[in-house]
């Protein structure tokens, strides 16, 4: 039984087994997340099939520039998260903290842009419910598009807020010297979560922002 860094929990034989078990557990969690978002994507597809013109008209009201900038910011935050994992694999505590702080900054920038977009929608009467101004649209049922827009981007943003919280916790653990090379999986598993959230946005951006842009 080899346990170089004192990182192996008592139910595991060795570090390899512990890391592989944790990795599979993380993927099982992500499969559940895929289906959680998948259900919402399915609702989106069903209603877009039903009201194609309304979805195109609703999408036209979204800001492609802000959505595109946020896509670049989020892809950048995936790179910094990958670099944090890269540092963790080598046991570089300073690298972990630096890249996690960078990921928090980029994640915060994404959420800031999202807040600006949400406030524009609020002023334009695009919040589903009694305040929704449907008279500004030529087609009916644009409200359905905006319901899905807020549910999908809201759930995505909630995942990012949770991710930022996890990063603050991981930075505290790293600064206390707890995250050693043997415990790099803490950073690795967070990275898996953050990249998953990035993938969700990779699909949300074209499906919400880029409809009916041609002709």
């Amino acid at each position: 039984m080899s346990d170089p860094g004192g990182a192996v929990l008592h139910q595991f034989d060795d570090l390899d087994q512990q890391v592989e078990a944790g990795r599979l557990g993380m993927w099982a969690f992500l499969i559940q997340e895929v289906l959680f978002f998948g259900g919402m994507f399915a609702v989106y597809a069903v209603y877009r099939h039903r009201f194609p013109e309304s979805f195109a008209e609703g999408s036209h009201h979204l800001d492609v520039l802000l959505g595109g900038v946020n896509t670049v910011i989020l892809i950048g935050s995936s790179l910094t998260a990958a670099l944090a994992v890269h540092a963790a694999e080598r046991g570089h505590a300073r690298g972990i903290v630096t890249w996690l702080v960078g990921t928090i900054v980029l994640g915060g920038a994404f959420l800031g842009v999202k807040a600006v977009e949400y406030s524009h929608k609020f002023h334009d009467g695009l919040i589903p419910g009694s305040g929704f101004v449907s008279a500004q649209f030529e087609t009916e049922n644009v409200e359905v598009f905006y319901s899905l827009y807020f549910v999908l981007t809201g759930m995505h943003a909630l995942h990012m807020v949770i991710g930022v919280g996890i990063m603050i916790w991981l930075i505290a653990l790293t600064l206390r010297g707890y995250i050693t090379k043997e415990r790099q999986q803490y950073i690795e598993f967070f990275g898996l979560y953050w990249h998953f959230v990035d993938i969700v946005w990779i699909f949300l951006f074209p499906l919400l922002y880029l409809l009916g842009r041609h002709g």
């Binding site: 289906l35 995936s78 990958a82 043997e182 993938i199 990779i202 842009r213």
Partner: protein, 111 residues
């Protein structure tokens, strides 16, 4: 299968190449959206997003460097998603055709 005394992730150069590819594909998906490809606009957008997602899964999420069992888990997520989509769409996306020929198809929810 040792994971603690080897670096099992990608190299820095690989991460940067993937990052650049993701940015280029983002530009491509915007370019596609502003041009008329008829009914192929949405399939093209989904294919580009699928390529981007696959790059993230294989390199940023290290699946390319992980054990076969992790491959199976990642593929299972995709498989279950396709089951969810397959059964949902085989009903909802075919109702218009069914309504034209059959009387007792469940009606669409009215608003």
């Amino acid at each position: 299968m040792s994971s603690h005394d080897e670096h099992h992730g990608a190299s820095l150069r690989t991460y940067l190449v993937i990052f650049g590819s993701l940015l280029a594909l983002t530009g491509l998906t915007v370019w596609v959206a502003f041009h008329d490809f008829g009914s192929f606009n949405t399939p093209l957008a989904l294919v580009i997003a699928g390529v981007k997602g696959t790059l993230v899964v294989l390199y940023f999420m290290h699946v390319r460097y992980n054990s076969r069992l992790v491959w199976v888990f990642a593929a299972a997520g995709f498989l279950w998603l396709m089951i969810l989509f397959g059964f949902t769409f085989s009903d909802y996306l075919t109702r218009d055709a069914a309504e034209a020929t059959v009387q007792d198809v469940p009606a669409w929810p009215t608003r």
